[in-house]
Amino acid sequence: MIVRIFSDGQYRIPEDAQERLHELDNKSVAAIDAADEAAFTAAYAALIELIHANGERLADDELEPSDLMLPPADITLEEARTEFTGEGLLPD
Protein backbone atom coordinates (compact mmCIF):
# COMPACT_ATOMS: atom_id res chain seq x y z
CA MET A 1 0.00 0.00 0.00
CA ILE A 2 1.24 3.51 -0.84
CA VAL A 3 0.54 6.41 1.50
CA ARG A 4 1.14 10.07 0.78
CA ILE A 5 1.77 12.55 3.57
CA PHE A 6 1.18 16.04 2.22
CA SER A 7 4.23 18.35 2.38
CA ASP A 8 6.34 15.24 2.94
CA GLY A 9 6.16 12.49 0.31
CA GLN A 10 4.93 9.03 -0.61
CA TYR A 11 5.72 5.87 1.39
CA ARG A 12 5.28 2.19 0.60
CA ILE A 13 3.83 0.61 3.75
CA PRO A 14 4.27 -3.12 4.46
CA GLU A 15 1.14 -5.10 5.21
CA ASP A 16 1.96 -5.79 8.85
CA ALA A 17 1.88 -2.04 9.66
CA GLN A 18 -1.42 -1.35 7.94
CA GLU A 19 -3.74 -2.39 10.73
CA ARG A 20 -1.96 -0.11 13.20
CA LEU A 21 -2.16 2.68 10.61
CA HIS A 22 -5.93 2.37 10.32
CA GLU A 23 -6.22 2.28 14.09
CA LEU A 24 -4.35 5.56 14.44
CA ASP A 25 -6.30 7.07 11.57
CA ASN A 26 -9.55 6.24 13.35
CA LYS A 27 -8.18 7.62 16.59
CA SER A 28 -7.28 10.88 14.84
CA VAL A 29 -10.74 11.20 13.36
CA ALA A 30 -12.37 10.45 16.71
CA ALA A 31 -10.28 13.24 18.27
CA ILE A 32 -11.38 15.62 15.52
CA ASP A 33 -15.03 14.72 16.10
CA ALA A 34 -14.55 15.29 19.84
CA ALA A 35 -12.68 18.56 19.11
CA ASP A 36 -9.90 17.27 21.37
CA GLU A 37 -6.77 19.08 20.17
CA ALA A 38 -4.34 17.28 22.50
CA ALA A 39 -5.66 13.82 21.60
CA PHE A 40 -5.56 14.70 17.91
CA THR A 41 -1.99 15.99 18.05
CA ALA A 42 -0.84 12.84 19.88
CA ALA A 43 -2.68 10.38 17.63
CA TYR A 44 -1.63 12.12 14.45
CA ALA A 45 2.02 12.40 15.50
CA ALA A 46 1.96 8.64 16.24
CA LEU A 47 0.49 7.98 12.79
CA ILE A 48 3.19 10.00 11.02
CA GLU A 49 5.85 8.33 13.16
CA LEU A 50 4.51 4.89 12.22
CA ILE A 51 4.74 5.73 8.52
CA HIS A 52 8.25 7.14 8.81
CA ALA A 53 9.42 4.14 10.84
CA ASN A 54 7.87 1.42 8.66
CA GLY A 55 7.49 2.98 5.24
CA GLU A 56 9.90 3.04 2.33
CA ARG A 57 10.01 6.46 0.75
CA LEU A 58 9.30 6.70 -2.99
CA ALA A 59 11.55 8.83 -5.18
CA ASP A 60 10.17 12.19 -6.33
CA ASP A 61 10.12 11.08 -9.96
CA GLU A 62 8.00 7.95 -9.37
CA LEU A 63 4.49 8.26 -10.71
CA GLU A 64 2.60 5.91 -8.39
CA PRO A 65 -0.89 6.86 -7.28
CA SER A 66 -1.40 6.67 -3.50
CA ASP A 67 -3.94 4.50 -1.76
CA LEU A 68 -4.15 6.93 1.13
CA MET A 69 -3.45 10.64 1.43
CA LEU A 70 -2.71 12.19 4.78
CA PRO A 71 -2.59 15.85 5.83
CA PRO A 72 0.77 17.53 6.57
CA ALA A 73 2.37 16.52 9.87
CA ASP A 74 1.86 20.00 11.34
CA ILE A 75 -1.85 20.18 10.49
CA THR A 76 -4.06 21.78 13.13
CA LEU A 77 -7.25 20.15 14.30
CA GLU A 78 -9.25 22.93 12.69
CA GLU A 79 -7.53 22.52 9.31
CA ALA A 80 -7.90 18.75 9.46
CA ARG A 81 -11.58 19.15 10.21
CA THR A 82 -12.32 21.50 7.33
CA GLU A 83 -9.87 20.30 4.68
CA PHE A 84 -9.75 16.57 5.22
CA THR A 85 -12.94 15.33 6.76
CA GLY A 86 -15.65 17.96 6.50
CA GLU A 87 -17.30 19.71 3.59
CA GLY A 88 -13.91 21.10 2.61
CA LEU A 89 -12.72 21.36 -0.95
CA LEU A 90 -15.45 19.72 -2.98
CA PRO A 91 -19.12 19.06 -2.27
CA ASP A 92 -20.14 15.40 -2.04
Partner: protein, 270 residues
Protein backbone atom coordinates in the same frame (compact mmCIF):
# COMPACT_ATOMS: atom_id res chain seq x y z
CA UNK B 1 -12.30 4.90 2.40
CA UNK B 2 -13.23 6.45 5.76
CA UNK B 3 -10.92 8.40 8.02
CA UNK B 4 -8.63 11.35 7.56
CA UNK B 5 -7.30 10.10 4.26
CA UNK B 6 -10.49 9.32 2.44
CA UNK B 7 -11.68 12.74 1.51
CA UNK B 8 -8.45 13.98 -0.05
CA UNK B 9 -8.07 10.79 -2.10
CA UNK B 10 -11.60 11.15 -3.40
CA UNK B 11 -11.07 14.78 -4.34
CA UNK B 12 -7.83 14.14 -6.20
CA UNK B 13 -9.20 11.14 -8.08
CA UNK B 14 -12.32 13.07 -9.04
CA UNK B 15 -10.26 15.96 -10.36
CA UNK B 16 -7.95 13.71 -12.33
CA UNK B 17 -10.74 11.71 -13.92
CA UNK B 18 -12.44 14.97 -14.87
CA UNK B 19 -9.32 15.91 -16.81
CA UNK B 20 -9.02 12.46 -18.34
CA UNK B 21 -12.66 12.37 -19.42
CA UNK B 22 -12.32 15.62 -21.28
CA UNK B 23 -10.51 14.22 -24.31
CA UNK B 24 -11.25 11.15 -26.39
CA UNK B 25 -7.76 10.69 -27.68
CA UNK B 26 -5.25 9.44 -25.06
CA UNK B 27 -2.35 11.26 -26.70
CA UNK B 28 -4.29 14.49 -26.58
CA UNK B 29 -5.23 13.87 -22.94
CA UNK B 30 -1.61 13.36 -22.02
CA UNK B 31 -0.42 16.49 -23.76
CA UNK B 32 -3.29 18.50 -22.31
CA UNK B 33 -2.67 17.43 -18.74
CA UNK B 34 1.07 18.00 -19.09
CA UNK B 35 0.52 21.55 -20.38
CA UNK B 36 -2.04 22.19 -17.65
CA UNK B 37 0.37 21.06 -14.93
CA UNK B 38 3.14 23.27 -16.34
CA UNK B 39 0.79 26.24 -16.12
CA UNK B 40 -0.09 25.38 -12.54
CA UNK B 41 3.59 25.21 -11.70
CA UNK B 42 3.92 28.83 -12.80
CA UNK B 43 1.25 29.75 -10.26
CA UNK B 44 3.22 27.94 -7.60
CA UNK B 45 6.25 30.05 -8.45
CA UNK B 46 4.18 33.20 -8.03
CA UNK B 47 2.88 31.85 -4.72
CA UNK B 48 6.43 31.34 -3.46
CA UNK B 49 7.32 34.90 -4.53
CA UNK B 50 4.31 36.22 -2.55
CA UNK B 51 5.40 34.40 0.57
CA UNK B 52 8.95 35.74 0.22
CA UNK B 53 7.63 39.30 -0.17
CA UNK B 54 5.46 39.00 2.93
CA UNK B 55 8.38 37.62 4.89
CA UNK B 56 10.62 40.51 3.83
CA UNK B 57 7.98 43.00 4.90
CA UNK B 58 7.78 41.39 8.33
CA UNK B 59 11.56 41.37 8.62
CA UNK B 60 11.68 45.10 7.87
CA UNK B 61 9.04 45.70 10.51
CA UNK B 62 11.14 43.64 12.90
CA UNK B 63 14.26 45.70 12.20
CA UNK B 64 12.35 48.93 12.85
CA UNK B 65 11.08 47.62 16.15
CA UNK B 66 14.58 46.60 17.17
CA UNK B 67 15.72 50.17 16.53
CA UNK B 68 12.83 51.36 18.63
CA UNK B 69 13.95 49.15 21.54
CA UNK B 70 17.45 50.66 21.38
CA UNK B 71 16.00 54.15 21.25
CA UNK B 72 13.69 53.61 24.22
CA UNK B 73 16.57 52.13 26.20
CA UNK B 74 18.70 55.20 25.48
CA UNK B 75 15.83 57.46 26.46
CA UNK B 76 15.41 55.62 29.76
CA UNK B 77 19.12 56.08 30.54
CA UNK B 78 19.00 59.77 29.65
CA UNK B 79 15.91 60.26 31.79
CA UNK B 80 17.52 58.50 34.77
CA UNK B 81 20.69 60.56 34.37
CA UNK B 82 18.47 63.64 34.54
CA UNK B 83 16.79 62.30 37.70
CA UNK B 84 13.50 61.75 35.91
CA UNK B 85 12.60 58.28 37.09
CA UNK B 86 8.98 58.76 35.99
CA UNK B 87 10.09 59.41 32.42
CA UNK B 88 12.53 56.50 32.55
CA UNK B 89 9.70 54.25 33.70
CA UNK B 90 7.48 55.35 30.81
CA UNK B 91 10.29 54.62 28.34
CA UNK B 92 10.95 51.19 29.86
CA UNK B 93 7.25 50.31 29.83
CA UNK B 94 7.13 51.11 26.14
CA UNK B 95 10.28 49.12 25.58
CA UNK B 96 8.58 46.13 27.21
CA UNK B 97 5.55 46.30 24.96
CA UNK B 98 7.67 46.72 21.83
CA UNK B 99 9.69 43.69 22.91
CA UNK B 100 6.51 41.65 23.36
CA UNK B 101 5.41 42.61 19.84
CA UNK B 102 8.86 41.70 18.58
CA UNK B 103 8.65 38.19 20.03
CA UNK B 104 5.33 37.56 18.38
CA UNK B 105 6.65 38.93 15.08
CA UNK B 106 9.68 36.68 15.37
CA UNK B 107 7.59 33.52 15.75
CA UNK B 108 5.40 34.57 12.83
CA UNK B 109 8.45 35.01 10.63
CA UNK B 110 9.61 31.55 11.72
CA UNK B 111 6.28 29.99 10.79
CA UNK B 112 6.30 31.72 7.43
CA UNK B 113 9.81 30.43 6.79
CA UNK B 114 8.58 26.88 7.48
CA UNK B 115 5.71 27.28 5.05
CA UNK B 116 8.02 28.72 2.45
CA UNK B 117 10.39 25.77 2.76
CA UNK B 118 7.55 23.27 2.40
CA UNK B 119 6.29 25.06 -0.66
CA UNK B 120 9.75 25.06 -2.23
CA UNK B 121 10.24 21.33 -1.47
CA UNK B 122 6.82 20.48 -2.81
CA UNK B 123 7.48 22.45 -5.98
CA UNK B 124 10.77 20.59 -6.51
CA UNK B 125 8.98 17.23 -6.12
CA UNK B 126 6.36 18.46 -8.57
CA UNK B 127 9.03 19.30 -11.13
CA UNK B 128 10.57 15.84 -10.79
CA UNK B 129 7.17 14.16 -11.17
CA UNK B 130 6.24 16.28 -14.14
CA UNK B 131 9.52 15.46 -15.87
CA UNK B 132 8.85 11.74 -15.28
CA UNK B 133 5.35 12.26 -16.64
CA UNK B 134 6.69 13.96 -19.77
CA UNK B 135 8.92 10.94 -20.49
CA UNK B 136 6.22 8.45 -19.66
CA UNK B 137 3.60 10.06 -21.85
CA UNK B 138 5.86 9.70 -24.90
CA UNK B 139 6.39 6.02 -24.05
CA UNK B 140 2.65 5.48 -23.59
CA UNK B 141 1.84 7.22 -26.86
CA UNK B 142 4.41 5.16 -28.77
CA UNK B 143 3.86 1.71 -27.23
CA UNK B 144 0.27 1.17 -26.23
CA UNK B 145 -3.03 0.80 -27.98
CA UNK B 146 -5.71 3.30 -27.02
CA UNK B 147 -7.40 0.89 -24.60
CA UNK B 148 -4.19 -0.09 -22.82
CA UNK B 149 -2.99 3.48 -22.77
CA UNK B 150 -6.08 4.62 -20.88
CA UNK B 151 -5.12 2.63 -17.77
CA UNK B 152 -1.48 3.73 -17.81
CA UNK B 153 -2.48 7.33 -18.38
CA UNK B 154 -4.84 7.25 -15.46
CA UNK B 155 -2.09 5.97 -13.16
CA UNK B 156 0.49 8.47 -14.34
CA UNK B 157 -1.95 11.36 -14.26
CA UNK B 158 -3.08 10.48 -10.75
CA UNK B 159 0.54 10.39 -9.61
CA UNK B 160 1.06 13.89 -10.98
CA UNK B 161 -2.36 15.10 -9.83
CA UNK B 162 -1.65 14.06 -6.27
CA UNK B 163 1.58 15.98 -6.23
CA UNK B 164 -0.24 19.01 -7.60
CA UNK B 165 -2.83 18.71 -4.83
CA UNK B 166 0.08 18.53 -2.39
CA UNK B 167 1.66 21.70 -3.82
CA UNK B 168 -1.77 23.31 -3.89
CA UNK B 169 -2.33 22.70 -0.20
CA UNK B 170 1.18 23.90 0.71
CA UNK B 171 0.51 27.06 -1.28
CA UNK B 172 -2.90 27.59 0.26
CA UNK B 173 -1.53 27.22 3.78
CA UNK B 174 1.37 29.60 3.10
CA UNK B 175 -0.90 32.19 1.53
CA UNK B 176 -3.46 31.88 4.35
CA UNK B 177 -0.66 32.65 6.77
CA UNK B 178 0.48 35.71 4.83
CA UNK B 179 -3.14 36.89 4.60
CA UNK B 180 -3.47 36.62 8.37
CA UNK B 181 -0.33 38.65 8.77
CA UNK B 182 -1.49 41.30 6.32
CA UNK B 183 -4.78 41.57 8.22
CA UNK B 184 -2.86 41.93 11.47
CA UNK B 185 -0.50 44.51 9.99
CA UNK B 186 -3.40 46.60 8.72
CA UNK B 187 -5.12 46.36 12.14
CA UNK B 188 -1.94 47.69 13.73
CA UNK B 189 -1.85 50.38 11.02
CA UNK B 190 -5.36 51.51 11.94
CA UNK B 191 -4.47 51.69 15.62
CA UNK B 192 -1.43 53.77 14.74
CA UNK B 193 -3.54 56.11 12.67
CA UNK B 194 -5.91 56.46 15.62
CA UNK B 195 -2.95 57.48 17.77
CA UNK B 196 -3.04 54.48 20.06
CA UNK B 197 0.51 53.42 19.31
CA UNK B 198 1.77 56.83 18.37
CA UNK B 199 4.61 56.80 20.85
CA UNK B 200 5.56 53.18 20.26
CA UNK B 201 5.89 53.44 16.55
CA UNK B 202 7.51 56.84 16.27
CA UNK B 203 10.59 56.00 14.24
CA UNK B 204 13.41 57.76 12.47
CA UNK B 205 13.82 61.51 12.86
CA UNK B 206 10.42 62.05 14.52
CA UNK B 207 10.36 63.05 18.18
CA UNK B 208 8.06 61.52 20.74
CA UNK B 209 6.91 62.96 24.05
CA UNK B 210 9.82 61.39 25.94
CA UNK B 211 12.25 63.13 23.56
CA UNK B 212 10.50 66.42 24.09
CA UNK B 213 10.61 66.11 27.87
CA UNK B 214 14.27 65.11 27.79
CA UNK B 215 14.98 68.14 25.62
CA UNK B 216 13.09 70.31 28.05
CA UNK B 217 15.41 69.08 30.81
CA UNK B 218 18.44 69.80 28.61
CA UNK B 219 17.05 73.22 27.77
CA UNK B 220 16.34 73.87 31.43
CA UNK B 221 19.97 73.03 32.27
CA UNK B 222 21.24 75.26 29.50
CA UNK B 223 19.06 78.10 30.75
CA UNK B 224 20.41 77.64 34.27
CA UNK B 225 23.98 77.62 32.96
CA UNK B 226 23.43 80.76 30.94
CA UNK B 227 21.75 82.48 33.85
CA UNK B 228 24.71 81.57 36.06
CA UNK B 229 27.17 82.94 33.48
CA UNK B 230 25.25 86.18 33.16
CA UNK B 231 25.19 86.56 36.92
CA UNK B 232 28.94 85.97 37.03
CA UNK B 233 29.53 88.63 34.34
CA UNK B 234 27.49 91.10 36.31
CA UNK B 235 30.01 90.65 39.12
CA UNK B 236 28.08 88.77 41.81
CA UNK B 237 30.84 86.10 41.86
CA UNK B 238 30.11 83.83 44.81
CA UNK B 239 26.36 83.20 44.34
CA UNK B 240 26.89 82.56 40.62
CA UNK B 241 29.49 79.88 41.31
CA UNK B 242 27.00 78.22 43.64
CA UNK B 243 24.31 78.36 40.99
CA UNK B 244 26.48 76.61 38.39
CA UNK B 245 27.29 73.78 40.77
CA UNK B 246 23.75 73.37 41.99
CA UNK B 247 22.21 73.86 38.53
CA UNK B 248 21.52 70.34 37.25
CA UNK B 249 20.58 68.87 40.62
CA UNK B 250 18.28 71.67 41.60
CA UNK B 251 16.63 71.63 38.18
CA UNK B 252 13.49 69.46 38.72
CA UNK B 253 12.15 71.76 41.42
CA UNK B 254 13.15 74.90 39.57
CA UNK B 255 12.01 73.94 36.08
CA UNK B 256 8.25 74.19 36.55
CA UNK B 257 7.87 77.97 36.89
CA UNK B 258 10.38 78.58 34.07
CA UNK B 259 8.68 76.34 31.56
CA UNK B 260 6.83 78.89 29.40
CA UNK B 261 10.10 80.64 28.52
CA UNK B 262 12.19 77.52 27.88
CA UNK B 263 11.45 77.06 24.17
CA UNK B 264 12.52 80.55 23.23
CA UNK B 265 15.56 80.52 25.46
CA UNK B 266 16.91 77.26 24.15
CA UNK B 267 16.58 78.40 20.54
CA UNK B 268 18.60 81.51 21.21
CA UNK B 269 21.11 79.42 23.13
CA UNK B 270 21.78 77.25 20.07
Amino acid sequence: MPGLTGRMSTIVKAKVSKVLDRAEDPAETLDYSYTKQLELLQNVKKGIADVVTSKKRLQMQEAQMQQQVVKLDTQARQALAANREDLARTALERKQSVQTELQSLDSQIGELEDQQQKLVDSEAAMRAKLEAFRTKKEVIKAQYSAAEAQVRISEAATGVGEQMADVGLAMQRALDKTENMKARASAVGELEAAGTFEDLTQLGPGKDDIDRQLEAIGAGGAVDDELAKMKAELGSGAPAQQAIEAGPDAEPAASAPEEPAEGEQSESAQ
